[in-house]
């Protein structure tokens, strides 16, 4: 079988391009070496913003960002949640009474784009207003200006793009790594892939190979016999177990860089850092300095922050466009599509680099336009009008809860993730009433949702389930759900006891990467219990060779 397009990478760009190509009628196959949204996409702040930072230098980018934010709200209404932000002005800021005027003027201009993305116009807050809104904020804050943005679950965004692509005929293969290219002369004719779970190797032919591998894209470009440089930037977020503030707060770090503190789902995020990174992309660890940098910034605005519980850290590498002579924060989140036929004389190979989550759809559209031009396809892009699979309507949570006799809160969380597909998912309860049971009590996640993710969304490991359902991301960080989740996967995939053990160890290791660097204070109590559960009570480390 000859595909029109083989996409490498299951991040938001890869899945976005796969969807667009499939919707335009192309035969699409996508390969992801681990899991959808397991690289840069899964480590991002999770915002669909209007691009306020480009306003002063590049108004058109702000316009396009705001426009696209509006589109994404239309195609995925269930996944978007509004996050009002404030930018506080501290008395230490240079001439604070003037600074706040400048800020307000800036956001007055940004307000012009608010209707495009259903944002509310800015409000100027006095010291008293700010204190009433956020009692934890420092007494040094003399006032603030608000603006309006939207948050999103980036994992769900990827999964829904992939599901949509599949609904339009695309083949999605996760845990499948592209090991080399099939070439004819210098031209690319396809890829040789390896299934990382079964070890099976096979060749897949395609007219165009689209390299959307994020931070791994230079490696793939190298395999294809060319070179694409990026400026890899490591970003770290701290994740707290509860909402510290009601709304997002824009703060400055010690070096003046902008950082967000914001509620996200039932957790709280502080981030991000931005540092050049040249280490192992497949083994990212967070340092003490990175944690302390973020904590100090937060403490400057929110003095009580160290009393809260940091559950874990999250980190990823931005595939920022290459630039020499700029410090990290000055690098724009621009993107570029490299046509290797035009640039290096390699036919059949494209690379997409740079960009940001909020403009994924626009970038996918541009990339697909390039692909279509090469393949002579004239069908127009419809990804801005056609809802994602769960985006057709918002279900009635109360009605669903009554119909399936399930806790309304659990339904509400499921409905956030699955939108108009919620009823189909809950239908699994009719197949087996025990599908009501909770696998993860923190989020909570029902067995039904875990099964649904395994059957319909390519979940093969517990981290895969975590990305699709938020299983294991709550305050117990996998203490209660790890083994339960392994057994659901075991049942669905027909695994033996070794397979189930491997799943458990895999998830414990994956969580540990996020937890270990930030282990302090209250989280240590949880971790003492967590290790005691998995090491001592379950004697995982003593199951036991003959």
């Amino acid at each position: 079988m000859l595909y029109d397009v083989a996409v490498i990478g299951g991040g938001v760009n890869g899945t976005g391009i796969a969807r667009d190509c499939a919707m335009r009628g192309l035969r699409v196959v996508l390969f992801e070496k681990t899991d959808l949204s397991s690289g840069a996409t899964g480590a991002c702040t999770g915002m669909i913003h209007g691009g306020a930072r480009y306003l002063l230098n590049d108004i058109h980018t702000t316009y396009l960002s705001s426009l696209d934010s509006g589109y994404i709200q239309k195609i995925a209404p269930h996944l978007l949640f509004r996050i009002p932000f404030v930018t506080p002005v501290l008395k230490q800021d240079p001439v604070p009474e003037v600074y706040i005027e400048l800020l307000e003027t800036f956001f007055e201009a940004y307000d012009k784009f608010a209707p495009l993305k259903n944002g509310k116009p800015h409000i100027r807050l006095t010291q008293q207003d700010l204190k009433a809104l956020e009692p934890g904020i420092t007494d040094d804050a003399v006032g603030a200006v608000s603006f309006d943005e939207y948050g999103i679950d980036p994992f769900r965004l990827c999964v829904e793009n992939a599901v949509s692509a599949e609904e339009h005929g695309a083949q999605i293969h996760t845990h499948t790594e592209v090991r080399q290219f099939i070439t004819e002369g210098r031209d690319i004719k396809g890829v040789r892939v390896k299934d990382m779970l079964t070890g099976e190797v096979r060749d897949v032919h395609a007219r165009i190979v689209m390299n959307a591998a994020g931070p791994w894209l230079p490696k793939l470009a190298g395999l294809a016999g060319t070179q694409v440089k990026i400026r890899p930037g490591k970003g770290v977020h701290l994740i707290l177990d509860r909402r510290v503030s009601n709304i997002g707060i824009v703060i400055k770090a010690i070096d003046g860089r902008q950082i967000f503190m914001m509620p996200h789902d039932n957790t709280f995020i502080i981030g991000t850092t931005d540092d050049d990174y040249y280490g192992d992309l497949d083994s990212l660890w967070v340092t003490h300095d990175e944690i302390e940098y973020l904590l100090q910034a937060a403490e400057h605005y929110f003095p009580g922050i160290r009393k809260y519980r940091i559950m874990r850290v999250m980190t990823g590498i931005r595939p920022t466009l290459y630039a020499w002579g700029k410090n990290e924060d000055k690098l724009y989140r621009e993107h570029r599509i490299f046509d290797h036929e035009a640039e290096d004389g390699i036919k059949g190979f494209l690379t997409i680099a740079g960009g940001k989550l909020a403009s994924y759809r626009l970038m996918s559209e541009e990339a697909t336009d390039v692909i279509c031009k090469k393949l002579g396809c004239e069908n127009p892009c419809k990804t801005h009008t056609e809802p994602l699979p769960g985006g057709h309507f918002i279900p009635d949570v109360k009605k669903m809860a009554e119909k399936f006799n399930v806790d309304p809160y659990a339904v509400a969380r499921t409905a956030y993730r699955h939108g108009s597909k919620t009823e189909e998912l809950l239908g699994l309860i009719e197949e087996d009433p025990s599908n009501r049971d909770l696998v993860c009590e923190c989020e909570p996640v029902m067995k039904a949702e875990a099964r649904y993710a395994i059957r319909n969304e390519w979940a093969r490991t517990i981290p895969d389930l975590r990305r699709r359902t938020r299983l294991g991301t709550g305050s117990c960080q996998g203490r209660r759900c790890t083994v339960r989740a392994a057994f659901v996967l075991g049942e669905e995939l027909g695994l033996d006891s070794d397979g189930i053990k491997k799943l458990i160890e895999g998830f414990l290791k994956e969580r540990w990467k996020g937890k270990a660097p930030a282990l302090m204070d209250k989280q240590l109590a949880e971790e003492e219990l967590n290790l005691a559960t998995h090491v001592l009570s379950d004697s995982l480390n003593t199951i036991i060779e003959k």
Partner: protein, 444 residues
């Protein structure tokens, strides 16, 4: 003087200390709540290091062998520190001490209504609700399945409860698979049957076994559930029955008797995740033990007052906001590790009440960044969790130079450094021994 001895903490170590001191002294326990003991699985590990993954069970089955390994190789371990007092055959004298203190304590526990079964010679394997095993030395009699080897080639019956989230059927198969694969035991058959709690007219949330154990505290409910299990198992051919640990909490003595009257030795409880009913049973039994031995319980959070080398008083902040001060001749610190906030980080790590320096191994903890004491694999032994105060041979905390910090302060249980209960399987044994000895030392 309000008391002769004040113990801070009412987990296993604190209670062992209190009742030993109370043999001759007037004793009070100050506590702010329950900690790791209440959260435990209700089993007692004495020795039998787990070590690296994949080690055969036979390597850690012998308890004396496990203790011998510690005395020989782990100089910082509280077992080794306690053994320093012996001048003759350290190993044999230590083993004698373990048995004497342990037997006496289990006798005291029996007086509170909990009967522990097990052995000082060999660890046993108990099946867990996860379908794995826990190797341990003693367990509550209702959890004791007897010698699993006797069940070779027999039929095992798992009883689940309606709406349980733990995939009993798969777990039962998993257990069978593991057992036969790793060559301990192979069962003839493993069956799985559910009891429908709702059809008995009882309200239960369907996944919390502690709440089901609480429902069973009512003897009427317990009788109904036992009868329902009886009815199911009578139709089956089985050799042994495992159920979730739900035989009551506060009324465990009566409920477990009802089950042993109904099923004899053929039914036992699985080891559960924390928190579990057996852990709470143990904690409540310890509470009763304090009362039986005339130990006063003061509820509140302890704090120290300025004292150069001898502690005279501790302050207590009560839940209602009031404060009081208690004087004593000796004090015992049994505040636990991280779960109960016995250790905190204040720039660097320290013990929470007296500000004693924290140690990992022989070294004071200087670095606040935990990764220094962790590896990249959570199933490795993590040094961070062996953090605690360092003590001399009389269990008195010492500073970085090895000097005793307070002449009349003793420490016991998981606030101690030098061992890692998550990995070394001496958790309850260390709490019991150091607690008992601290109680004896403090009484002079």
């Amino acid at each position: 003087m309000d008391y002769d001895v004040i113990v801070i903490g009412s987990g296993l170590a604190g209670v062992a200390a209190a009742i030993n001191a109370a043999k001759t002294k007037k004793v009070a326990v100050i506590r702010k709540g329950y900690g790791a003991t209440a959260l435990c699985s209700g089993t007692f590990d004495i020795a039998g290091r787990t070590g690296k993954r994949g080690r055969p069970f036979k390597d850690f089955v012998s308890i004396p062998q496990g203790i011998g390994h510690i005395l020989e190789n782990e100089k910082q371990h509280p077992y080794s520190i306690l053994s320093m007092a012996f001048t003759g055959d350290r190993f044999n004298e230590f083993i004698t001490m373990v048995n004497t203190i342990g037997e006496e304590f289990f006798e005291r526990l029996r007086e509170t209504g909990i009967h522990y079964k097990g052995s000082w010679e060999n660890n046993m394997l108990l099946p867990t609700q996860h379908g794995a095993f826990k190797a341990t030395s003693f367990c509550q009699s209702s959890m004791f399945p007897g010698n699993l080897a006797k069940l070779m080639g027999r039929t095992i019956l798992f009883i689940g409860f309606e709406k349980t989230p733990i995939h009993n059927r798969t777990r039962a198969e998993f257990l069978r698979d593991i057992l036969s694969k790793y060559g301990f035991l192979s069962f003839k058959d493993v069956l799985y049957i559910n009891v429908d709690i709702q059809s008995l007219g009882l309200r239960w949330n369907g996944h919390d076994f502690i709440s089901l154990a609480g429902i069973m505290d009512d003897m009427d409910n317990a009788r109904r559930i036992a009868a329902s299990i009886r009815e199911i198992v009578d139709k089956q051919d089985y050799d042994h029955i495992f159920i979730q640990p739900v035989m009551g909490i506060k009324n465990y003595e009566d409920v477990s008797k009802l089950f042993s009257d109904t099923f004899g030795d053929a039914l036992s409880e699985l080891v559960a995740d924390s928190p579990s009913a057996p852990g709470l049973r143990l904690q409540y039994a310890l509470d009763r033990m304090l009362a039986q031995h005339g130990v006063a319980v003061i509820d509140g959070e302890a704090s120290c007052s300025e004292s150069p080398d001898t502690i005279k008083t501790v302050g207590v902040s009560h839940k209602d906001g009031s404060k009081s001060t208690f004087a004593a001749n000796s004090f015992i610190l049994a505040t636990g590790k991280f779960i109960s906030n016995g250790l905190t980080k204040n720039k660097t790590w320290q013990e929470s009440i007296f500000g004693l320096p924290a140690f990992i191994g022989d070294q004071p903890v200087k670095d606040a960044f935990a990764m220094k004491y962790l590896t990249d694999d959570p199933l490795d032994e993590q040094a961070l969790f062996s953090m605690g105060v360092k003590v001399d041979n009389s269990l008195r905390p010492v500073d970085e130079d090895g000097a005793v910090v307070y002449k009349n302060l003793y420490a016991a249980g998981s606030v101690l450094s030098g061992y890692n209960y998550i990995y070394d399987k001496t958790g309850m044994g260390t709490a019991l021994l150091t607690g008992s000895k601290a109680g004896i030392f403090s009484a002079g």
